[in-house]
Amino acid sequence: MTTNALTKPGGSGRTGDKVFSTASMAAGILILVTLFAVALFLFLQAIPAFTADPAEVSGGKGFLSYIWPIVIGTVIAAAIAIVLATPVGLGVALFISHYAPRRLAAPLGYVIDLLAAIPSVIYGIWGYLVLAPVLVPGYEWLNANLGFIPLFGGPVSQTGKTMLTAGIVLAVMVLPIITSLSREIFLQTPGLHEEAALALGATRWEMIRMSVLPFARAGIISAVMLGLGRALGETMAVALVLSTGNLIPSLIKSGNQTIAAEIALNFPEAFGLRMSELIAAGLVLFIITLAVNMVARWIISRHQEFSGAN
């Protein structure tokens, strides 16, 4: 009599099941442990900067007044990047998913992936040596016509190594992240929804507004948040492009600084208290990104019904 595989006790694969579920849970826990270690370590190393005599901290007025200008600088750079990159990125994603000829869509998607793949240091040297000089006439025009707004106050930097240039370079770097993620989501829109809208006589834009965008809303937000996270923490592009200085309102003058660039430019020579300061700056950056992600998470959790796994 042959044994029946279905009734055999402890049938094949039970061990596999156990091993697989344990391994996957262990991997998940490892991630939690790693993150906890990162936060703990940054905090422990940063303590000296918080407790030090204010006069000994860079700037001589304590840690808060040291960190405040570069926090604002970081936020400004990331804000410029997101404001510029979000509409363009979503447009590109829509173009690839719904406007480009079907035959061209895949190659065009690859082209945009290539933009994502270009390393940040290459964007950095491109922004420094190619883009910044090109933008100077544009900045002069902005200063001449909109100079009454503090954002475009003069005198214009003649090298073009300004906050706005850094923001534009960051926008270029963030763009493919927003595009590739939202494109994936746009392509997942149920075909029946789109066809139903078209069959009711909707134009292409109405179809996108009625079926694609509602479906993709959570995905778009998470794409933008991921882009924001990268813009906030991006180091090399800012370190190479921005001619750093004190916090100033003008975006087209030399000045301002971001946390990540501050760390990268100073860490190699730092020791003692200076190192603690930089690590504390890293901790602040970490907390900012944490806050951004928590907000993103909260928004996405309100739209969970659009997730595919239901």
């Binding site: 694969g13 039970r14 596999g16 099941d17 697989f20 579920s21 996957s24 849970m25 991997a27 998940g28 826990i29 490892l30 991630i31 790693t34 993150l35 270690a37 370590f41 190393q45 590109v92 173009f95 290539l114 933009l115 994502a116 793949a117 270009i118 390393p119 940040s120 240091v121 290459i122 040297i125 420094y128 190619v130 006439p137 544009g138 270029v172 994936e184 075909g191 292409r204 109405e206 996108i208 996270g229 906030l232 923490g233 991006e234 180091t235 090399m236 190479l240 946390i259 990540a260 760390i263 990268a264 860490f267 190699p268 690590i279 890293g282 944490l290 992600n293 997730s307 595919g308 796994a309």
Partner: protein, 372 residues
């Protein structure tokens, strides 16, 4: 069977009913031409430049074509064409930096792509050597072989660490942990980890290894750990998204046939999602292969070749580029350094492109056939 008689087709002299109320075929090109002419005129008024000409022309075209469509075809069609032009315009706009970066890297990098650059390190290269080559007009010496070796080894190590961990964690999240506290915690903290700035990850790895092996331990594996911290959340997120969109019907069908859960996952769920997972992993590798900041604080900068990730400083292409631009080998003659930096940039882009292409091929080979 219906026996309705068709009305005779309208005579060719009258306009077709179906095309009534539509813009004639020549209208949009005509608007485009007018926009080009007016744009040229407008930009000439304030001192001609290519940039202002293109900006004026594009604005005029979008406004003109939208107004024309609205006037003839109605408001809905007008809105439709307005967004069509915006979307196409966004795509063209996004191509400008891409083309500019690629052109610059090719133009400035190709002259430096010599066999000397590819197969020699910077060992023994000093400012004096660069000054001599500039004075004598001989080819630039010194290359990025050591950096290529470092980049490949460090990236390989971090991929080997991150891909299994990331994929298993994603599988846990989607297949095992639905609704559990732990799963929600992991999802949340993976998101947090996605936002870890690369330099913070570098600081973490440096500090971790500094604790274990003494302060300022710098070697390839430290950099690999730093890059893994950056890579794991990317892998988890993309894998998770892809696993989530695998239809539940497939899983249920598999369970209904008596297939065990882990066999269902490895034989049904993952193969269905593999193309997306591969593209996610590629993006993750592409992100870390060009990371500079974590390498600066974990692997240092070497001028000679080092094949061992477990000892001594190691150079990578990004740090090589960064230092060649920021601190040229010879401060008085920066051209040789710039040439090496751009050649290294070209090499890095080629590596990334090959990776992308490879992953795309894998994705195509493994992706299930769908109706779309």
């Amino acid at each position: 069977m219906s026996t309705t008689t068709l009305t005779p087709t309208p005579t060719p002299t009258r306009r077709n009913r179906l095309s009534k109320g539509r813009l004639p075929r020549w209208a949009i090109p005509a608007v485009g031409l007018a926009a080009l002419i007016l744009g040229a005129a407008g930009s000439t008024l304030g001192g001609f430049s290519v940039a202002s000409f293109l900006i004026y022309a594009a604005l005029l075209f979008v406004v003109g074509a939208t107004l024309a469509t609205t006037a003839v075809e109605g408001r809905r069609q007008g809105t439709n064409s307005f967004f069509k032009y915006l979307v196409v315009g966004a795509f063209l706009l996004a191509l400008i930096p891409l083309v500019s970066v690629l052109y610059t890297v090719l133009e400035r990098g190709l002259p430096g792509m010599t066999s000397d650059f590819l197969f020699h390190s910077m060992n023994g290269m000093t400012g004096a050597v660069d000054n001599e080559t500039v004075a004598a007009g001989t080819p630039v010496l010194g290359g990025a072989y050591h950096a290529v070796v470092g980049t490949l080894l460090i990236t390989l190590c971090s991929t080997v660490i991150s891909v299994p961990v990331g994929m298993l964690a994603a599988i846990y999240l989607v297949e095992y942990g639905q609704g559990k506290m732990l799963s929600r915690g992991i999802t949340f903290f993976v998101d947090v980890m996605t936002g870890i700035p690369s330099i913070v990850a570098g600081l973490f790895a440096a500090a971790l290894f500094g604790l274990m092996f003494g302060p300022s331990t710098r070697m390839g594996i430290v950099a690999a750990v730093a890059l893994s911290v950056l890579m794991i959340p990317t892998v988890v997120r993309s894998t998770e998204e892809m696993l989530k969109i695998v239809p539940n019907e497939l899983r249920e069908a598999s369970y209904a046939l008596g297939v065990r859960k882990w066999r269902t996952i490895t034989k049904v769920v993952i193969p269905t999602a593999i193309s997306g997972i591969a593209s996610g992993v590629t993006l993750a590798i592409a992100r870390v292969i060009g990371e500079t900041a974590p390498i600066l604080v974990t692997a240092g900068l070497a001028n000679s070749i080092n094949f061992n990730v477990f000892s001594n400083w190691m150079a990578t292409l990004p740090t090589f580029i960064y230092y060649q631009i920021l601190n040229p080998t010879s401060p008085t003659n920066i051209d040789p350094s710039a040439q090496r930096a751009w050649a290294a940039a070209l090499l890095l882009i080629i590596m990334v492109m090959v990776l992308n292409l490879g992953a795309r091929l894998i994705a195509r080979i493994f992706s299930p056939k769908t109706g779309r």
